[in-house]
């Protein structure tokens, strides 16, 4: 029987594995590993808080958690390595312009802390997806890829709109948050909320239904569109 504790335990184990793989980046060794303890404690509390959103652990509640984790990861992915091309409509210049136009002090951010928070979120997502596997949910990997592609589109849309001054500053002000992760998730959600059809797809998934998660370009005219750089 799967419960909150199993997921939490699994997430911490996964975090341990991920940190071991990234020990060199974080400068971790046997001598200074104890310095991680407060971070692990804080991460555990964050995990507990996230998992407490689910009253019971079942397929539907884990699907909701999987969805919100993917949203959070996509929203923050661009800050993990800004020089990687995560999306065709995003590049370093755009991310720099976006940073200048948002009322948030990006210069204070520590790249190691951002990466650690990102990895902690990945560890929880792995634990949630393992839980879904144990509960025999279907198409977990397909959903994983689908979420990553879909959510990143909304992150890109938001950043592009900010760069093109398509938002009023009053619209954005309420979404700013001292935590980068929360702020970016707010931005992405703000954009998603405008798309009623996508919102209803997300709701259907959370109710246990499955969609067509294939990522093929469904436009029959996609070849013609290429002539127009669309």
């Amino acid at each position: 029987m799967l419960n909150h504790f199993n997921i939490l335990e699994n997430a911490i184990t996964e975090l341990g594995k991920i940190l071991r793989l990234n020990a060199q980046y974080f400068g971790l060794s046997n001598e200074n590993i104890h310095e991680l303890e407060p971070i692990v404690q804080g991460t555990m509390q964050a995990y507990e808080l996230t998992l407490s959103q689910a009253e019971n652990i079942n397929i539907n509640s884990l699907r909701k958690l999987q969805q919100s984790q993917h949203l959070g990861l996509c929203a923050n992915k661009i800050f993990v390595n800004e020089y990687q091309n995560f999306h065709k409509d995003l590049n370093t210049e755009k991310i720099d312009t976006f940073k200048k136009k948002i009322d948030f002090d990006f210069s204070d951010l520590n790249p190691q802390a951002i990466y650690l928070a990102f990895l902690a979120q990945v560890a929880l997502l792995i634990a949630i997806e393992n839980g879904l596997e144990q509960l025999k949910d279907k198409l977990i990997l397909e959903k994983n890829k689908w979420y990553q592609q879909k959510f990143l589109n909304y992150v890109s849309k938001f950043i592009n709109k900010i760069c093109n001054n398509e938002y009023k500053s009053s619209e954005i002000a309420s979404l700013i948050n001292p935590s980068l992760q929360t702020m970016m998730a707010n931005f992405t959600l703000f954009e998603i909320n405008k798309d009623q059809s996508f919102m209803s797809d997300l709701e259907k998934i959370n109710q246990g239904f499955d969609l067509d998660y294939s990522l093929k370009d469904k436009n029959s005219d996609s070849i013609l569109r290429k002539f127009f750089k669309i």
Partner: protein, 65 residues
């Protein structure tokens, strides 16, 4: 979608509409010469119109990025 892509999307739609429209007109005008000839002529006209607007889009995108 950036506004540059909106311009391309608009031109793409114009090109589809015009090439289909002139393709049909060509087909009707050349139908008396035989159906095969009419089909080939309408395809050629459609492709020419599509390519012309695609070239226009290529030039415009050179200015707007």
């Amino acid at each position: 979608m950036g506004w540059q892509k909106n311009v391309s999307e608009g031109l793409y739609r114009i090109s589809l509409t015009l090439s289909i429209f002139f393709g049909i007109i060509t087909f009707l005008l050349t139908f008396r010469e035989g159906i095969i000839f009419a089909i080939i002529a309408s395809i050629i006209v459609s492709v020419i119109i599509f390519v012309l607007i695609a070239v226009l889009n290529w030039i415009v995108r050179g200015f707007i990025g």
